[in-house]
Amino acid sequence: MIETKKLERSFKNGDVETLVLKGIDFKADSGEFVAIMGRSGAGKSTFLYQISLLDEPTGGAITIDGHDTHRMSEDERMKFRLNKFGYVFQDYALLPELTALENVALPLLMQNKSRKQAYAEAQEALDRVALGHRLHNLPSQLSGGEQQRVSISRAIAHKPAVLFADEPTANLDNESSKTIMDIFVELHQEGQTIIMVTHEEEYAKLAGRLIRLDDGRIISETSHRG
């Protein structure tokens, strides 16, 4: 489903060029739950941004469902992100002036769904993370765990092909983190492809496959379950 070949990403600061990803070959199949681990600066978030089309690599190739992403225009990448991907960020990334329901409905409206349909699907996604009673609350009126659940709802409401999560539990307490991970496991069991960057070994083990990055390279790969 997602495949990278010799993926490179470097950053320039004046005359200094830093190579963060140094030729990563990676493949994730549909329905997989892949966890990416590594110490700070290993390049795991940078890698996630490349394969989730939030950033453009400086070398190598990414193929998603047979599409060479290098050939895509910015508009096509945006449509791909809207229709095929879902994102969960470390800091929830909810729009503060939109209610939980509106935050979740927004990408659905952008998919040109009617207001009624978008709101119905958004409500369904919020019900799924047990936030059906918080539909009209603004993010500021929700706890961190609840905000992250809204963020997950927004990411899954349009039934994306891949759900990308960048350290989704980093800002949460243990109980909230566990709730989030339970949702991820449940989604995976229903066939959702998930690629998640995490620091926490305990949660990484819940994924079917664990990839460790260091210094811009994959240093190990472990399968936990079939």
Binding site: Y49, L54, D55, M78, K79, R81, L82, N83, F85, Y87, F89, A93, L95, P96, E97, L98, E102, L106, P107, L109, M110, N112, L138, R154
Partner: protein
Amino acid sequence: MPLNVRIGFFLAVRALRRASLWTTGLIIGVMVLTFLNLVVVSGILVGLLEGAVVAVRTQYTSDVIVSSLNDKKYIENSPNLISLINTLPEVSAYTARYREGGTVEANYKTRKETDKPNTANAVLVGINPAKEKAVTGIDSSIVEGSFLSPDDYDKVVIGGYLLKQYFPVETPGFTTLENVGVGTKIRMSVGGVVREVTVKGILKSKVDEVSMRVYMVDSQFRSLIGRSDGNVAELALKLKPGADPVAVRDELLSRGAGINAKVQTYDDAQPKFLKDIIATFNMLGTAFSSIGLVVASITIFIVVFINAITRRKFIGILKGIGIHGRAIEISYVFQSVFYALVGSGLGLVLVYAFLVPFFDAHPIDFPFSDGILVAPLGSTFFRVGLLVVTTVIAGFIPARMIIRKNTLDSILGRN
């Protein structure tokens, strides 16, 4: 509705609904002030002169003025012309005036042989008091004494500019009468005829043509100047509400009134310098308004720029989850339009519900006019449009600058 517009509207409505009331109030306040700057500054500048124009129209020319040709002292065949005027359905009233240049003298009784006579040049006018009242209502400008009655004999109403206490101007070649009040006898000289008359009333108006005149009942004035043919020097025509002065002027001209008289609308009869000053004030008003518009656009630019910069992360997230940049730009445009429309709306209410009626009731007291606020609807709405367009551009540019930045850099707050 195009999808990006729909999403832009969705985002804008929520951003406005949940924005800080203080911020929204401040921005709308700036827009209201800008609108007032656009409309009121030039409106008052023009209004100062418009006040003068209105005063000349109501107190002197009325809607249409027919006067003697430049090389004649009177309008020949005036009775025929008056008959013609009587047939025009648009005319509600008219007043005929006899007019001669002459002098008035004040100290003739008390001065010694060697003293300089206290005289003033004046335009002496014979009027029918009732008709003059009906057309120009100058009787309401009487500040001392009373206006003429049809049976007044050897009585005059004198314009304030001929009296020192009302017009204390010491200009070489221009003299005024001293120590003249109601009841004072003065001497009027016209065409070699001298008549002693009593001042019955003093009239004060900001219209030169009204205040530089001495008024007498027409029947007496005719005998004073030896006019028995009924030829008058001026005819001021008041039209019925809604009647077009231009149409009446043209009608009179087409029926031969122009052969023996000058036929002008109140607008034609305005002095050229007044028209020039109006044009200059209009230009000044436009210049001040333009500066106001630039200030408003910079304000909106800064407000939207700061708003977009502080929300750069959220703009990045929106783009990241697949919201089109154009939709985000449109949301800022909608917000800018909202500020401009609400600001202009409040400004319109202020102008038409408070300021215009206020200045109509309490005109600004200028030496040459009673200044009012002139805000014609057409040009006001043009200025509203101008403000909205400027605001849209001022809102769009900074939003676009921020939205065009790299999506991931925006999300991560990288420069």
